[in-house]
Amino acid sequence: MSVEVKGLHFSYGRIKALNAVDISLPGGAIGLLGPNGAGKSTLLRILLGFLKPDRGEGTVLGYNIKNQQQLIRRYVGYMPEDDCLITGIDAVSFTSYMGELSGMPRQEAMKRAHEVLFYVGLEESRYRNLETYSAGMRQRLKLAQALVHDPKLIFLDEPTSGLDPQGRQEILELILDVSAKKDIQVLISSHILPDIEGVCSYVLILNKGQVASQGNLDDLKQVNYSLYELKIKGEEAGFVKGLESMKCRVEQTEDGLLKVYMPPDASPQQIFHLAAREKQQIRHFVKSQTSLEDLFAKVVGVD
């Protein structure tokens, strides 16, 4: 397990940011999801040793989060959400500086800085002053500094925020490449669900400082419910009411489609029985793939 945490509590004054959090994350790419204020950034900060937990314990790559923060930071890369840089220097100097601070010898850090800047696609502009970088270039640079010391695990806090669709796609490709082919574990905190769905195989969903759900993405999507999309002819209200009485969650789309989330123990035949009872015609019936968005909405309790 790359990250293991038991009974983690943390408060900002009276506000409980994390409340009895137990997590056990395997390797690979892991998505950390949750609405604003769920405790995602707090969890990352505790794992990196920026904040001390009030209670609880945990390990990152086998190192204790309470007294081995320096070792954790040596083997973990961190890409912060905020726009952060060091002024007055170019990208090569910046990246090698970060490598040196991680404990790399000076010349090795410089050599490695060139390599990672090539990797993230900043080879042409690596001698430009950081102040002249665009938002997309800064995101890539933040990824480069997180990779310079060849970490075993990287924490990415909102890695695609502020990027245009193409830039976002390129960053996601890099993350996917690093996690899938380079044996580097990745923990991505994001509120952009398709990003997580495209890159991660395991998700951890936090809500109000507690773990709302965690597990393999495919399993979670399958186990929790089955999703059917259907269209009916006639009065919808009574039919929807009937579905809800069967413990189904129903969403109506603008084009008149009904998305029905059925409990795992329910059978789709019940929908047809209901339609017969309500004297409705089912004009369209498809078993649909559940998306991460659906799972998120279900466990967090938002539409």
Binding site: F50, L51, R73, P80, E170, E173, K181, K182, D183
Partner: protein
């Protein structure tokens, strides 16, 4: 070239256990200072008094050769603790140190606060004290260049030019005074600059504070001294406190009728206060409550 063509390669080197993990911070701080406009000129100007005093030491040992220049008045070229005191505590020297601090120290922490880079530092295996040491060492470097280094060079050159150890035998405590005073000034200005740099995110504002506070405390001292006719108001002045302790360390009569220990207490008190502020300001994350 796209990212895929180049690819990612693992690093096959080994991390080294660095004795001074803060050294890269210092190196970059010094490097960036020298890149600042007009700093090189200022640096040379700050070194000028040292060269003049060094020339004085040389001339003092070659009075016969330079008699035409000094026209019989050899009094000002007697090399003794007064000569050292004159170099270390003269107002121009202190002023030049403050000017250098504006260039080398104003942005040391304020830039990191402005550009959110503290989290970049603290996501590396360095501690708060490493960060502080790295930043403080930038100031230490520039202040030592005009205090400790010239002071020790003066003593060595005096011995070399004289060709004997008579000077050292006469004033065996002088090297310790030079070292003690240099450390005092350097430690004080390190805390002074880092404290001011940590309280604002705008380096220009910090630069004004570094210069303004130094001048303002001096003006305050002179105004109060004029009104109340008490030399104890010298304790309000940064310059006066440093000079007071400096005179005492070089075993000279202090310029103000105030125990020099009080001046030292003010300096130490400021450093302690600065240390507390720095401790609370330097954090990996800014928590908005």
């Amino acid at each position: 070239m796209t990212i895929k063509e180049k690819g990612y390669a693992h690093w096959d080197g080994n991390f080294v256990a660095k004795k001074f993990p803060w050294w890269p911070i210092t190196r970059y701080g010094i490097k960036l200072t020298f890149r600042r406009k007009f700093f090189k000129l200022l640096f040379i100007m700050a070194l000028a008094p040292g060269l003049v005093f060094l020339a004085g030491i040389y001339i003092s040992e070659r009075l016969e050769d330079f008699r035409f220049m000094i026209q019989g008045d050899t009094q000002f070229l007697s090399i003794d603790p007064t000569y050292f005191k004159a170099y270390f505590t003269n107002e121009f020297m202190l002023f030049m140190i403050v000017m250098m601090l504006i260039f080398c120290g104003a942005g040391l922490i304020s830039d990191d606060l402005k550009f959110n880079s503290l989290q970049l530092y603290f996501s590396r295996p360095i501690s708060k004290s490493d960060y502080f040491m790295g930043k403080a060492a930038v100031i230490v470097f520039f202040v030592f260049v005009v205090t400790l280094i010239p002071g020790l060079i003066f003593i060595i050159m005096k011995l070399l030019f004289a060709g004997n150890f008579e000077f050292l035998a006469k004033y065996p405590w002088l090297p310790f005074s030079v070292i003690g005073y240099s450390f005092l000034v350097t430690i004080f200005f390190s805390f002074y600059t880092l404290f001011l740099s940590s309280i604002n995110k705008n380096r220009r504002y910090v630069a004004i504070l570094i210069f303004g506070l130094y001048i303002f405390t001096d003006i305050l001292f002179e105004i109060f001294e004029d009104i109340f006719r008490s030399e104890y108001f010298s304790l309000l002045s940064i310059r006066a406190n440093i000079q007071q302790v400096g005179y005492a360390l070089f075993r000279q009569n202090t310029p103000h009728d105030v125990p020099w220990v009080l001046a030292l207490a003010v300096i130490v008190g400021f450093c302690v206060l600065g240390g507390f502020v720095l401790k609370s300001k330097i954090k990996g994350v800014e928590i908005v409550k």
